[in-house]
Amino acid sequence: MWCRVLRLTPAHPYIPNSAESSKRKLVDFLGISDPEELYSDVPEVVKLDRPLEVLGPLPEQEILKRIKEKLSSVKTALDMPVFLGAGCWPHYVPAVVDFILARTEFYTSYTPYQPEISQGMLQALWEYQSMVCELTGMEVTNCSMYDWASALGEAARMAVRITGRKRVLVPKIIHPERLEVLKAYTEPAGITVEQVPYEPETGQMDLEALKARMGSDVAAVYVENPSYLGFIETRVKAIGEIAHDRGALYVVGVDPISLGILEAPGNYGADIVVGEGQPLGNHMNFGGPLLGILACRAERRFIWQMPGRIIGLTVDSEGRKAFCMALQAREQHIRRERASSNICTNEALCAVAAAVYLALLGPKGLRELCETIIYRSHYAMKRLNELPGVKAPLFKAPHFKEFVVNYNGTGLTAKAIHEGLLKAGIHGGKLLAGEFPELGQSALYCITELHTKEDIDRLAEALRGLLER
């Protein structure tokens, strides 16, 4: 459409000065006859002498139509029960969160380099930091990393800088993508990552194995609570003590939703807390953007090694409360190759979503949400465990919202069950065979407040149907 219009009036709706009358003013003022003259210093050999081969331009309604058509076949948790979690979880996003995020003042602005004219974003981010501190029991939080995995990578590097040691111990039960990212972040710095085995019955970190691996060269011991496979690490205090006994830092990874009911890591010895903030008011969006949480204690040696932006409370020239970016001397735009991290653009808007979400739920709402999740997930475990040959949960331990379902006794593969469920209009859990072969035919299921009793009953009945076939 616009192509055809172009020849008459070459103005694009997004580009005011593409109108001939405006462009004329610019060209005349510059004393040139053609905008191309401004590219006279680009050697011919690197100039593109043909139009780019991309689609468009399309009229707005055609864009909408094309994308809607493409997406029309996509089935999501709104079309069928989906029991996937594993680091990106379906939770309800209150309408207020989307409303606030749609405020153009927030979403189209950038990093608040000029604090006087950016107080809104600064205060919202400081409030995010503060609420994460309340949840985790830490004193300092940065205003976002890309996701849990990259936050873990940065936390490991931070621990290495603080301690001057180069070994990091992590659980054997960890999200494989998270482990891979951790290695990507640490390998170039010469850091070794070692996995600590778990107790097969319970999934809990094997404390004897941990002790055996401890040494004065360990920078950090990392645990996840709840773990990747959904169970709760019940001996987190003891693990922290083992780490601290040898002068290592204690890093804890969390699903922040769980902290509405579970003990704050700061209260069992954590020095650094990382986690995935996506469940706090952020849609899944097919896996991104996410919200990496990174928090720590208010010790100087910690704070100065933190990656990323941190907002501070201060005053203005008249003594009024004001906010600005603090400790920028850690960051890449000042310190360049000696910066604590290369991160610049982060996930600020997702952090604002988390702040709005936590303010809406409050302590009571968050607690009730956790209770609903625990009741429903345990109901699901109970229903599935009643099925012949099915074991749920696989690990004997307390669980939060995810759990491993083992099909070993059914004679069916996890893959076959996945196919059968999908045919019945249900998306089962994440298959674990490739990641944890020792768990046999297993899948990781996730239950949140979005999964009703009806959904769970449907899953159980569909699975029963498959088993009886």
Binding site: N17, L26, Y39, E105, E127
Partner: protein, 516 residues
């Protein structure tokens, strides 16, 4: 002399900290309760969760009703400047207009509610969009294959550096090739990313024309060279005309050439990094492809690579066999992932819509007008007393330019920072200041194609008025701003160990109040 006064006033709400709002017992959102049958079936929660795991104290979150939460954040939003209200000429940040249709399509349920581990058969349409987008990005950058994984430009740089590592490792040369060359005018992320990936950063000085000093580069390369990180046009807004020669020097030395895509907007459809000889290119989707900056993020920083480096791109790869889209995890040489899942999909879907809206002609037009706007504004500012144009003042700039306020500082004591603050009073966001580090009292201005000639004239007029004011009443400019939500912010206090307050918890501890 009376200097004309700006009429802009930003909202000034004196909004309390959120923890000071609300009242005990107020609720802003009530989650669903479990069905009675569910509770009955599983028994009391105390039996499901041992008491020692339960937190002793609830988190001290605000207790607020829904309207209070809305009012609080709406008030905060009114104290935040954004490009939808006026010029936001932050150099190197490309604060262009964010088309609303892009937000609309990214807000559809099929995007929001899709889970990254869903069976490929249920998400074909999403994979199709991502597949087409990566093909377009490869075409636009002149590269062979694109990974959509990185969450931001610096994240793309890190991935690119890991690929450079993997490439040299594969050739058995990682031990010696430890040096990444970076010009002194580069974005801070370049040296920071290289260092994170384990490289030693070698900084080379810019030549008298503000471009890479080819002789200095020749002197810097050796068998230790892993690569060169460069943006083109560079941070002065000047096109590196000797790019072919630079590429040859690096390639002859056995290194790889990395393109920092922060300045890609200037050359869309005009010239492609791949054709210049770059081996790895990152794209700042949130800059070049009009997606919102989110107050600092989320962005998206895909990278494109030449054919030889394709095996090193991380998995999963989005592939198409002519009928179905799928994720290929089987690439033995792939470097490790740098984040979970596939990338910032909600941002990428916006970019897809943006490219459709502009098409090949529109992308080129965006580049040309961004360059026209930049040169127009430069010419207007260059004529003002107190401003000088460093590095080849007669050479055309691209989408951005850098001027120095050194003459103003010399004659009045008013610095770039003060002028920046005074611009806020006129209702403009300030340009990037004190960057690149090779320019004294730098003012780095990127107007983008999204503003009209009258906006540029308004900005130039504000600059003229401020410079005049600096000569007539320097004190006035030195104490700016006045019309913003708060006055000049004490940034030193915010970072001083004795006064630093980074959370409500720290504030309460500072105030000596109970932690219970």
């Amino acid at each position: 002399m009376v200097v004309s006064q700006p009429s802009f006033r930003q909202a000034r709400w004196d909004e309390p900290i959120i923890f000071e709002l609300g009242a005990p017992g107020r609720r802003g959102h009530i989650p669903p309760r479990p069905e009675p049958e569910v509770v009955e079936a599983v028994g009391p929660i105390e039996d499901l969760l041992p008491e020692e795991l339960v937190r002793k104290e609830p988190p001290r979150l605000p207790e607020m009703s829904e309207p209070e939460v809305v009012r609080h954040f709406v008030r905060l939003s009114q104290m935040n400047y954004c490009p939808d209200v006026g010029l936001y000429p932050l150099g190197s940040c490309t604060m262009k207009y964010n088309p609303k249709i892009c937000d609309l399509v990214a807000s559809t349920d099929q995007v929001r509610w899709a889970h990254p581990y869903q069976d490929e058969r249920t998400v074909q349409g999403l994979l199709a969009i991502l597949y087409e987008l990566k093909k377009w990005l490869a075409e636009i950058t002149g590269t062979h294959e694109v990974s959509l994984l990185p969450a931001a430009g610096a994240h793309g740089e890190f991935l690119g550096c890991l690929i450079i590592r993997a490439y040299h490792k594969r050739k058995g040369q990682l031990v010696e090739r430890r040096e990444m060359i970076v010009p002194d005018s580069a974005h801070g992320t370049n040296p920071a990313s290289a260092a994170m990936a384990g490289f030693k950063v070698i900084t080379i000085p810019s030549g008298p024309d503000g471009c890479v000093d080819v002789e200095a580069l020749k002197a810097a390369v050796s068998k230790r060279t892993a690569g060169l990180m460069l943006t083109n046009p560079n941070t002065l807004g000047i096109f590196e005309s000797k790019i072919k020669e630079i590429a040859e020097i690096i390639h002859d030395a056995g290194g790889l050439l990395y393109y920092d895509g922060a300045n890609l907007n200037a050359i869309l459809g005009k010239s492609r990094p791949g054709d210049m000889g770059f081996d790895i290119v990152h794209i700042n989707i949130h800059k070049t492809f009009g997606t919102p900056h989110g107050g600092g993020g989320p962005g998206s920083g895909p990278i494109g690579v030449v054919e030889e480096l394709e095996p090193f791109l991380p998995v999963p790869r989005i592939e198409y066999d002519g009928e179905r889209y799928c994720l290929n995890w089987d690439k033995p040489l792939a470097v490790a992932k740098i984040r979970a899942f596939l990338g910032n999909v909600a941002v990428l879907v916006r970019a897809y819509a943006y490219i459709l809206a502009l098409g090949p002609e529109g992308l080129k037009e965006a580049a040309e007008v961004s360059v026209l706007n930049s040169n127009y504004l430069l010419k207007k500012l260059a004529s003002l007393e107190g401003i000088e144009v460093p590095y080849g003042p007669d050479r055309p700039r691209k989408h951005e330019f850098v001027v120095s306020l050194k003459p103003l500082e010399r004659s009045t004591g008013v610095r770039a920072l003060n002028v920046a603050k005074r611009l806020l009073d006129h209702g403009y966001h300030a340009p990037t200041i004190y960057f690149p580090p090779i320019v004294d009292e730098a003012f780095m201005v990127e107007p983008t194609e999204s503003f009209g000639v009258e906006d540029l004239d308004g900005f130039a007029e504000a600059m003229r008025a401020i410079l005049e004011e600096a000569r007539a009443e320097p004190e006035k400019v030195l104490k700016a701003p006045y019309n913003t939500a708060v006055g000049r912010v004490d940034e030193v206090r915010a970072s001083h160990p004795k006064t630093m307050v980074l959370s409500w918890r720290m504030l309460k501890e500072r105030e000596g109040l109970s932690r219970a």
